[in-house]
């Protein structure tokens, strides 16, 4: 059997990778030492020119299945890692058949939970991570996707204006249905609860869990968060005909949660005395879509909300409420947003995404202004932020181009063996 690479846009550099070697034994030179979650399969990050891909060694049948599942999720706009390809027909140097490899693009600026929970976690951050996972799970369920293995290990987090945005990373057990039953959804939620508890208890057992997080309490909160979000997004409500404003109110509440309402059923009872409404099709990304339309910026939902707020205050401060919105947005982009994000020196761009930097600068302006008791000009804020805040942050993009040897953990077993 010959090596077979299936990919939408195959990169010829893939051919140079040592496919005849079991993934576990790949030379350091090919690898990028990025943090990972728990996994039963061997997973490694591999450097290709200009990008990093995640390689998972897995049974060929499962590799193809997961690849197709990720493509489907991608197509229907769900937040997940991007599938890159499948490598099949691997033969070892001894002629032995090797498992296939599933390739996904490394999600830039993504943080596995192990990194997040073991950093000095702020008390409310654990909750924010769980909230992000609840949003992800609700979105997937609305799309008819049953995950089957909801866990922190199978989720990646990106910073999102002080909160987090969650991405699905492991679709191995997933199934697509026309519509999920209550039982299927509850099963996923239960799996999430047990897995999250296990993962946090594991960190605690290793002395790696921030004091702020109590495994059982945190794991139980996924259930509440999921259910209340689901109810808000899909539940029906009934009110008297005199309260029509409640229709708009419901839509506004959904928008605030970051969802657009694409379809809403309204029905009256026989007497016509009460109205019942129920959202039928809701679509995540209310703010990020609006920002994208106005500015072309592709950012996370909360970042978008933050940026839109700033855009609104820009508009008000310039007294341009009656101007065309997209004109104002263009000016805001060139006069406010880009000057801030472009001032970040090249060597600091791997710390945080531009939109997150902008968010932090806005936060910093608030702190500085409060301390000074007056408004501080944005230029001053940026200078202070770049000097005193950003350099102290860890690189979160990926270690693209950085020498991984420097990051290698000492392998004591190898060092000792020659002496024996």
């Amino acid at each position: 059997m010959a090596l077979e690479i299936t990919a939408a846009r195959p990169d010829p550099a893939l051919l140079d990778l040592p496919w005849s070697v079991p993934l576990e034994q790949w030379p350091e030179a090919n690898l990028a030492a990025l943090p990972r979650g728990l996994s039963r399969h061997v997973v490694r990050f591999v450097k290709l020119p200009g990008q990093v891909i995640a390689v998972k060694e897995i049974n060929p049948h499962l590799a193809v299945r997961e690849y197709n599942m990720l493509r489907l999720l991608q197509k229907i706009g769900q937040p997940c890692v991007q599938p890159f390809g499948v490598v099949n027909g691997r033969l070892g140097d001894d002629g032995e058949e090797l498992d296939a490899c599933l390739l996904t693009r490394h999600l830039r600026f993504s943080l596995p939970y192990r990194a997040l929970f073991s950093q000095s976690l702020r008390p409310d951050s654990a909750q924010r991570l769980i909230d992000a996972l609840a949003v992800l799970l609700v979105r997937l369920h609305l799309a008819g996707f049953w995950w089957g293995d909801v866990s922190l290990s199978n989720t990646l987090f990106r910073r999102d204006a002080g909160a987090y945005a969650a991405y699905l990373v492991d679709a191995e057990t997933g199934e697509i249905h026309t519509k999920l039953s209550v039982g299927q959804r509850e099963h996923d939620v239960d799996i999430a609860r047990v897995n999250i508890a296990g993962e946090l208890m594991d960190l605690a057992a290793g002395g790696l869990l921030a004091k702020a997080a109590d495994p059982i309490r945190v794991s139980e909160s996924i259930v509440d968060r999921y259910r209340s979000l689901w109810r808000e997004l899909t539940g029906s409500e009934r009110f008297g005909v005199g309260c029509r404003w409640r229709v708009d109110d419901r839509i506004r509440r959904l928008n605030e949660l970051g969802f657009d309402v694409d379809e809403l059923t309204i029905s009256t009872d026989f007497g016509g005395a009460t109205i019942q409404i129920q959202p039928k099709v809701v679509d995540a990304g209310h703010h990020s879509r609006r920002l994208m339309r106005l500015t072309g910026l592709d950012v996370e939902e909360n970042q978008a909300r933050r940026l839109l707020n700033d855009l609104d205050s820009f508009r008000a401060s310039q007294d341009r409420q009656n101007d065309d919105e997209s004109m104002v947005a263009h000016d805001w982009l060139t006069q406010i947003y880009e000057p801030v994000t472009r001032t970040v020196p090249r060597d600091l761009t791997k710390k945080l995404e531009p939109a997150e930097v902008f968010h932090e600068v806005l936060e910093h302006r608030w702190y500085m202004s409060e301390a000074a008791g007056q408004d501080i000009p944005i230029k001053e804020v940026i200078a202070d932020y770049l000097k005193n805040v950003l350099p102290g942050k860890p690189d979160e993009a990926a270690v693209l181009g950085v020498d991984t040897m420097a990051m290698r953990l000492p392998d004591f077993s190898k060092q000792e063996s020659p002496g024996r």
């Binding site: 728990l38 039963r40 049974n59 049948h61 499962l62 089957g148 293995d149 866990s151 290990s153 191995e172 057990t173 026309t178 519509k179 039953s181 209550v182 039982g183 299927q184 509850e186 099963h187 239960d190 799996i191 609860r193 047990v194 897995n195 508890a197 296990g198 993962e199 208890m201 594991d202 960190l203 057992a205 290793g206 790696l208 059982i216 794991s219 139980e220």
Partner: protein, 359 residues
């Protein structure tokens, strides 16, 4: 431990015209190992998921013990889907890996310790409870994962094709492990597979499904010796049963040049032809003489036995492939014509219109 009952239960997926599981009725005894088997798309996974609470039941009921669970959520049903993706936690001991989910459920320490110890005994993991998963072999790790399900003391274990991703050797090994584990635990098990060999070797009883309809639910022995219809006859057994339409004549049915005697009462009311089934090992082979003439095309030698693959044109003019098991020491040569007749009364007759068994 508990009985399980599918009571006229149906599931029609939204957008489908026909039910994927159609009025399924099965009574599963306490401690029984029941296998749901059938070709792809027959509805076996759907049936299992209805029992687990993952698929809505549109019509009918599902009972676990004396509780009607039809509308209960999965976690209230007291069933465990085993071999789900269970992660092992590197910093936690084997005991904690097995027992942590009980801690979340609020069960006290002493009870957890007891259940973990019991499960470890059954799984042969007593000496490893304080170790970290890293220090275990692959098979031991798999058993820790099973332990996670066992300590919950579920009433029923459910498994859906748990072995489909293993290679052939590991598959046989794990098959035995699961079967013996189930016997030791004495727990009720419902197991889904498309592999009839797996079904026949593991199940106390086997339920064969086709197009959402239960075809037969019986012990492996009974299923093999007494298939209720043509579908089951052809599905169970490897190599498959030989099936062909034969003319009904006075005193029996015609089998090549001979008349195979059949009790007259059985053949009243059937048409001109019936479907006759005979397993490869139930054919007597003669080099010449009476019977069904068959040309030997391939001889597969397996040591003690050999299979001959041939074909006959004597069946209503159509060429019919036939498989016969013969003594491995004296198989007929390729190209020869042999004459077959059924051994004693080892024939199965089916109505060739309804497919139902006659007698």
């Amino acid at each position: 431990m508990a009985t399980v009952k599918f009571d006229n239960a149906s599931r029609t997926y939204p957008g489908n015209d026909t039910p994927s599981v159609d009025r399924l009725t099965i009574d599963i005894a306490d401690g029984e190992f029941l296998v749901l088997v059938g070709p792809s798309g027959c509805g076996k996974s759907t049936a299992l998921r209805m029992l687990a609470g993952l698929e809505e039941v549109n019509v009918g009921d599902i009972w676990i013990g004396d509780r009607n669970v039809t509308d209960m959520s999965p976690k209230d049903r007291d069933v465990a889907m085993v071999f789900q993706n269970y992660a092992l936690y590197p910093h936690m001991s084997v005991a904690d890996n097995m027992g942590f989910a009980l801690k979340i459920a609020g069960i006290n320490k002493a009870e957890i310790a007891k259940r973990v110890a019991d499960a470890a005994k059954i799984l042969d993991l007593q000496d490893y409870l304080e170790r970290k998963p890293k220090a275990l072999s692959g098979g031991q790790r798999q058993r820790v994962a099973m332990g996670r399900a066992i300590v919950r003391n579920p009433q029923v274990f459910l498994m859906d094709e748990p072995l489909s991703n293993l290679d052939a050797k590991l598959r046989v090994q794990t098959r035995t492990q699961i079967a013996s584990l189930q016997r030791r635990l004495g727990v009720t098990m419902v197991y889904v597979t498309h592999d009839q060999i797996e079904a026949m070797t593991m199940g106390d009883r086997v339920a064969v499904l086709k197009d959402g309809l239960l075809q037969q639910c019986d012990t492996p022995r009974r299923m093999y010796d007494h298939p209720d219809n043509v579908f089951v006859a052809g599905f169970i057994g490897s190599p498959a049963m030989n099936l062909f339409d034969v003319p009904v004549v006075d005193g029996g049915v015609k089998f090549g040049s001979i008349v195979h005697p059949i009790e007259r009462s059985l053949l009243t009311g059937v048409g001109k032809e019936v479907t006759l089934g005979v397993r490869p090992e139930d054919l007597v082979i003669k080099m010449e003489g009476d019977g069904l003439p068959v040309t030997v095309e391939v001889v597969e030698e397996l040591g003690a036995d050999a299979y001959i693959y041939g074909s006959t044109t004597e069946t209503a003019g159509k060429i019919k492939p036939i498989i016969v098991r013969v003594d491995g020491r004296t198989p007929p040569a390729k190209g020869t014509v042999v004459h077959l007749s059924p051994k004693g009364d080892h024939v199965h007759l089916f109505n060739n219109e309804t497919g139902l068994r006659i007698g």
